[in-house]
C-alpha cells in the first residue's frame, strides 16, 4: 500500500498524535505530585484531618494521571527507533545519553517511590511516607530536565562533532549538552507552565465544589456535615491553587520572554514564523492579528503594535528583526535547494504561538483575580468574612461583593481554567516542533532524511490507527474516572491511619499486630 503521501508525513503525524497526547499528562504529573506533597506535609506537620483528606483526594487524581503518563511515555521511547531509525542511528550517541540518564536517575526514582507512597499508608512512619511523595515530585522534575536537555539539543545542537568515518554525531561535551542556555530556559519555561497547569487544575476542581456548595446555601438550603467538611478541604486547596497559578503564571511569562530571546538568536526562522514577519524590518512591529499568504510571501491583513517585536527579541525598539523570506534565502544559499523549503507552516506557527500565550495567560489572570476576590482579611469588612467551611464570597472592594451574575461567571471561569494551560501546553509544543521544520536537528539533519527507510507505509498507517484508537478509548476512560473521582470530592469519612508504624517488626515480630491494621494499605 503506497499513498501519495511522503513517508515523513505519516511518521510526523504519528509523532504529533502520541507526543501531544503524552504531554497532556506530563505537566499534571509534575505539578500534582508537588501539590499532593505540600498537602501531605501540611497533614504531617499540623495533624489536621482536612489536610489528610486533601492529600488523599489530590493524590488519587494524580495517580490516575501518572498511570497514563507512564504508559504513553514508553511509546515515546520506542518510536524514535521505530519511525525515525535514521535519526536514531545518526544522533544516538548524543541524544541517547540524556534518555538513558532520565531512565536511570528519574524513572526508577518515580516508579519505586510511587509504589512506596501508594502502599505506604499505615505501613511507613509518617515522615518517611511523606518524603516518598516529595521524592516522586523531584523524580518528575529530573525526568523533565533530561528529556528537555535532549529536545534542546535538537533545537540547538552543541557539544558534538560529526565523525566523518561513520557519519554519526558524537558527543564531545556532555556538560555543554546538559547546561546550554537553550536547555536552561526551556526547562524554566516548561516547569513553570507545568506548575501553572496543576494550579489551574486544582482551581478548576475546587471551584466546581465550592460553587456547588454556594448554590445550595444561596437557594436557602443548608449544607450537611459531609459537604461542610468537603468545603473545608476545598478552601485551602483553592487558595494553594490560586497562589501557585499566580506565581507560576508570572514565571511562565518571564521565562517565555527569556526563551523567546534565545530563540530569536538560535532559530530566527521559528520566531519570524511566530510573528508572520515576512521581510527583515527595523523597529519590527508585534503582530496582534495577521492572515498570511505563503505563496506571495506577505500578509494580506495585519494588525500590529509598532516596535514591540524588536523589543521582545533584543530588548530595544529599533534593532532589525530578520524576516521569513530573508532567512529562507540565506538557508537555501547555505544548505541548497529552494528557499520555500526552509519555511515552516506559518499558519500553525503564528496561531500556535498566540494560542499558547492566550490560554496560558488567561489562567494567570484568573489566578490573580481569584486571589484578590477570595481574600480572607485584607481590605475586607469583617461582616463579609466567611468561615472555614463556607464558600468564600467574591469581594471586589472592602464592602462590595460581585453581583450574582458576575459571581456565577467567576466560578465558572474558575472551573474552565482547568483546561486552559493544558491547551496552551499543547499549542506551545506544536509551535516549537513545527516551527523548527524542515529540520529535526536544527541545521544538521532534516526531518525527511530522518525517517526509517525500510518501514512500509502500511505499517506506519496501522500503528497510527492502533495508537489513535487505543489512546481515544483510554481518554474516555481517563475522563470518566477523573469526573467520577473529581466530582465526588474528598472522602471525608475516611480515617487517617491511627498509630505510627515502625519499620522494624516483621510479620512475626512485634509489629505484627500493627500489620493487621491494613484498611488503607491496598490501592488496587
Amino acid at each position: 500500500m503506497e499513498l501519495a503521501l511522503a513517508h515523513e508525513t505519516l511518521a510526523r503525524w504519528q509523532f504529533g498524535v502520541t507526543t501531544v497526547y503524552h504531554f497532556l499528562f506530563v505537566p499534571l504529573t509534575i505539578s500534582l505530585s508537588a501539590i499532593t506533597a505540600v498537602m501531605h506535609t501540611a497533614w504531617v506537620r499540623t495533624g489536621k484531618e482536612l489536610y489528610f483528606h486533601a492529600t488523599k483526594f489530590w493524590g488519587k487524581l494524580f495517580l490516575i494521571n501518572i498511570a497514563m503518563g507512564i504508559v504513553t511515555g514508553i511509546v515515546q521511547e520506542f518510536q524514535f527507533g521505530m519511525n525515525w531509525s535514521t535519526y536514531s542511528r545518526f544522533v544516538g550517541d548524543v541524544f541517547g545519553a540524556p534518555l538513558a540518564m532520565e531512565a536511570l536517575a528519574a524513572f526508577f526514582l518515580e516508579s519505586v517511590f510511587i509504589g512506596l507512597w501508594i502502599f505506604g499508608w499505615g505501613r511507613l512512619p509518617k515522615r518517611l511516607h511523606c518524603a516518598c511523595i516529595w521524592i516522586v515530585a523531584v523524580g518528575t522534575l529530573l525526568s523533565g530536565y533530561f528529556i528537555l536537555a535532549a529536545n534542546s539539543w535538537m533545537q540547538h545542537p552543541v557539544g558534538y562533532k560529526i565523525n566523518p568515518a561513520t557519519n554519526r554525531a558524537e558527543m564531545t561535551d556532555v556538560w555543554h549538552v546538559l547546561t546550554q542556555n537553550t536547555t536552561l530556559v526551556q526547562v524554566f519555561h516548561t516547569f513553570s507552565a507545568a506548575y501553572l497547569t496543576g494550579a489551574a487544575f486544582v482551581v478548576g476542581v475546587a471551584s466546581v465544589h465550592l460553587w456547588r456548595a454556594a448554590r445550595i446555601t444561596r437557594a436557602g438550603g443548608t449544607l450537611d456535615e459531609r459537604r461542610r467538611r468537603q468545603v473545608a478541604v476545598m478552601r485551602p486547596s483553592l487558595r494553594l491553587g490560586l497562589v501557585l497559578a499566580t506565581v507560576a503564571g508570572l514565571l511562565v511569562a518571564v521565562s517565555g520572554d527569556r526563551l523567546g530571546k534565545v530563540m530569536f538568536r538560535q532559530q530566527p526562522m521559528k520566531m519570524a514564523a511566530a510573528e508572520a514577519l515576512w521581510d527583515t524590518t527595523d523597529s519590527a512591529p508585534f503582530s496582534v492579528f495577521a492572515v498570511g499568504n505563503v505563496n506571495r510571501g506577505r500578509n494580506d491583513v495585519e494588525l500590529s503594535i509598532p516596535g514591540l517585536l524588536s523589543f521582545l527579541a533584543y530588548d530595544n525598539f529599533t534593532e532589525a528583526v530578520p524576516g521569513i523570506n530573508n532567512i529562507a534565502a540565506a538557508e537555501a544559499a547555505q544548505f541548497g535547494g529552494e528557499p520555500d523549503h526552509y519555511i515552516p507552516n506559518i499558519f500553525v506557527a503564528f496561531w500556535g504561538f498566540r494560542l499558547m500565550i492566550g490560554f496560558g495567560m488567561t489562567s494567570f489572570v484568573a489566578g490573580l483575580f481569584g486571589l484578590w476576590t477570595t481574600r480572607r482579611k485584607l481590605w475586607l469588612d469583617p461582616e463579609f468574612r466567611t468561615g472555614d467551611d463556607e464558600t468564600p464570597r467574591l469581594m471586589l472592594t472592602r464592602r462590595h461583593e460581585l453581583k450574582p451574575w458576575f459571581t456565577k461567571w467567576s466560578w465558572r471561569l474558575g472551573a474552565w481554567t482547568l483546561a486552559f494551560p493544558v491547551i496552551g501546553n499543547s499549542f506551545g509544543w506544536i509551535f516549537t516542533e513545527m516551527g523548527r521544520q524542515p529540520w529535526v536537528v536544527y541545521g544538521v539533519l532534516q526531518t525527511r532524511a530522518a525517517v526509517s527507510p525500510t518501514v512500509s507505509q502500511g505499517e506506519v498507517i496501522t500503528s497510527l490507527v492502533v495508537y489513535t484508537l487505543l489512546y481515544g478509548v483510554l481518554a474516555v476512560v481517563e475522563l470518566k474516572l477523573l469526573f467520577k473521582y473529581g466530582g465526588a470530592g474528598p472522602d471525608v469519612d475516611e480515617r487517617p491511619p491511627g498509630r505510627e508504624p515502625t519499620l522494624r517488626g516483621g510479620p512475626d515480630g512485634e509489629g505484627a499486630a500493627a500489620d493487621q491494621d491494613k484498611a488503607l494499605v491496598f490501592a488496587y
Binding site: 541517547g96 509504589g115 488496587y524
Partner: protein
C-alpha cells in the same frame, strides 16, 4: 572497545534484571484470574505485586535506553525492523499498565472482568514478544550492508524466535506462580503451589530444549557454556523444589533459571548484536555499532553512580512489602 564490551554487559544485566523482576509480575498478571476465581483472591494476587511492578518495569525502559545510547544502530535496526512486533508490544504494555490502576476504580463486575482480561493478555504479550525479538536477534533477520532491515513482517518469523517467546512466557508463568506461593496465604497459596507444580515440568522441558537450540543457532561449538549448565540445573531444581514444597528455594531456583536463560542468550550472541541472515558480513556487532568512547565513558559514570543506588532503594521496597497478602483482607468494603 573495552567500554563497548562493558556496555554490552550492562545491557545484558538490564535485560536480565527486567526478566528476573518483571518476570514474576508478568506471571502474576497472566495467572491472577486463574489462581483465584473470586474478586477477593484476584485483588490479593494483584496486590502481591502492587507496590513493586512499576519499579520493575523501569528495567525494560532502561534496557532499551541503554541500547539507544550505547549502540544506536542496534536500537534503530531492532525497533524499526521489528516494527509490527513493537506496535503489539507497546499495546500490551499500555493496557497492562493502566489495568492495575483502573480495574478497581469502578465498582462493576463487567468493568473489572474487562481489565482482568486486558491484564492477562497484556502480561502474556510482553514476554512473548520480547522473547520473540531477542530470539530474532540471535537467529538472524534480513539486514543489508547499511544495517537496514530489508524483509517484511513474515521474514521476522523463525521457529527459534517463536520458541524463544514461548519459553520466556513459560518461565514467567513459573516465576510468577512461585512468587505468589511465597507471597500469599491460605487457599491462594495452595492454588499457587498447585499451579507451579503443573507449570514446572512443561517449563523445564521447554528450557531444556531451548538452551541447546540457542547454543546451536549461535554456532558456539559442541560444549555448553557454564551459564547454560547453570540454567539447566536451576530449571530442573525449580521443578523438583516446587514439588517438594520448599517455597523460598523454589523461587530462588526460578530466579536463577530465568536469569541464566537470558544471560545465555546474550553470551551466545556476543560479540554480535544482531545477526544478518543475508550475510554475516552485515551483522551488527559490538565493535561496529558502539557509540564513541566519550559518550560511553559518560554513561559509565552515570551508571556507576545510579545503578547501585537503584538496587539499594528498590531492594528496600522489597523489604518494606515483604509481608504475605491474604484474600481475607479483601472481603470487606473497598477502601477507595
Amino acid at each position: 572497545m573495552a567500554f563497548a564490551t562493558f556496555w554490552f554487559i550492562v545491557t545484558t544485566v538490564l535485560w536480565t534484571g527486567f526478566f528476573v523482576l518483571e518476570g514474576f509480575d508478568l506471571g502474576v498478571g497472566m495467572l491472577h484470574a486463574v489462581v483465584a476465581r473470586d474478586e477477593a483472591g484476584r485483588r490479593a494476587a494483584i496486590n502481591t505485586i502492587g507496590p513493586l511492578w512499576d519499579g520493575n518495569e523501569v528495567w525494560l525502559i532502561v534496557a532499551a535506553a541503554a541500547m539507544f545510547a550505547a549502540f544506536p544502530p542496534w536500537y534503530a535496526t531492532t525497533f524499526s525492523g521489528f516494527y509490527a512486533v513493537m506496535v503489539l508490544l507497546l499495546a500490551g504494555l499500555i493496557v497492562r499498565g493502566v489495568s492495575f490502576e483502573f480495574r478497581n476504580k469502578v465498582d462493576s463486575v463487567r468493568w473489572r472482568r474487562t481489565w482482568d482480561t486486558l491484564l492477562t493478555v497484556g502480561s502474556l504479550l510482553v514476554p512473548l514478544l520480547v522473547g520473540f525479538t531477542l530470539g530474532g536477534l540471535l537467529h538472524g533477520v534480513p539486514i543489508d550492508q547499511q544495517h537496514e532491515y530489508t524483509g517484511n513482517v513474515g521474514d521476522l518469523f523463525s521457529g527459534y524466535a517463536v520458541f524463544a517467546g514461548i519459553t520466556l512466557v513459560l518461565l514467567c508463568l513459573l516465576h510468577g506462580a512461585t512468587f505468589m506461593t511465597l507471597k500469599t496465604t491460605g487457599t491462594l497459596e495452595r492454588r499457587s503451589a498447585t499451579l507451579a507444580r503443573r507449570i514446572a515440568p512443561v517449563t523445564a522441558l521447554a528450557v531444556l530444549a531451548f538452551l541447546p537450540w540457542t547454543h546451536a543457532t549461535a554456532g558456539k561449538g559442541v560444549l555448553p557454556s557454564v551459564v547454560e549448565l547453570i540454567a539447566v540445573i536451576a530449571v530442573i531444581a525449580a521443578a523438583w523444589l516446587v514439588v517438594g514444597r520448599s517455597e523460598g528455594w523454589a523461587f530462588f531456583a526460578t530466579t536463577i533459571a530465568i536469569a541464566t536463560t537470558i544471560v545465555s542468550m546474550f553470551t551466545d550472541l556476543y560479540p554480535r548484536l544482531m545477526v544478518s541472515s543475508t550475510s554475516h558480513a552485515f551483522n551488527l556487532t559490538v565493535q561496529n555499532s558502539a557509540s564513541g568512547d566519550y559518550a560511553l565513558k559518560v554513561m559509565t559514570v552515570i551508571a556507576a553512580v545510579f545503578l547501585p543506588l537503584v538496587l539499594l532503594y528498590q531492594g528496600w521496597t522489597y523489604h518494606v512489602f515483604r509481608r504475605r497478602v491474604s484474600a481475607e483482607e479483601f472481603t470487606g468494603p473497598r477502601s477507595d
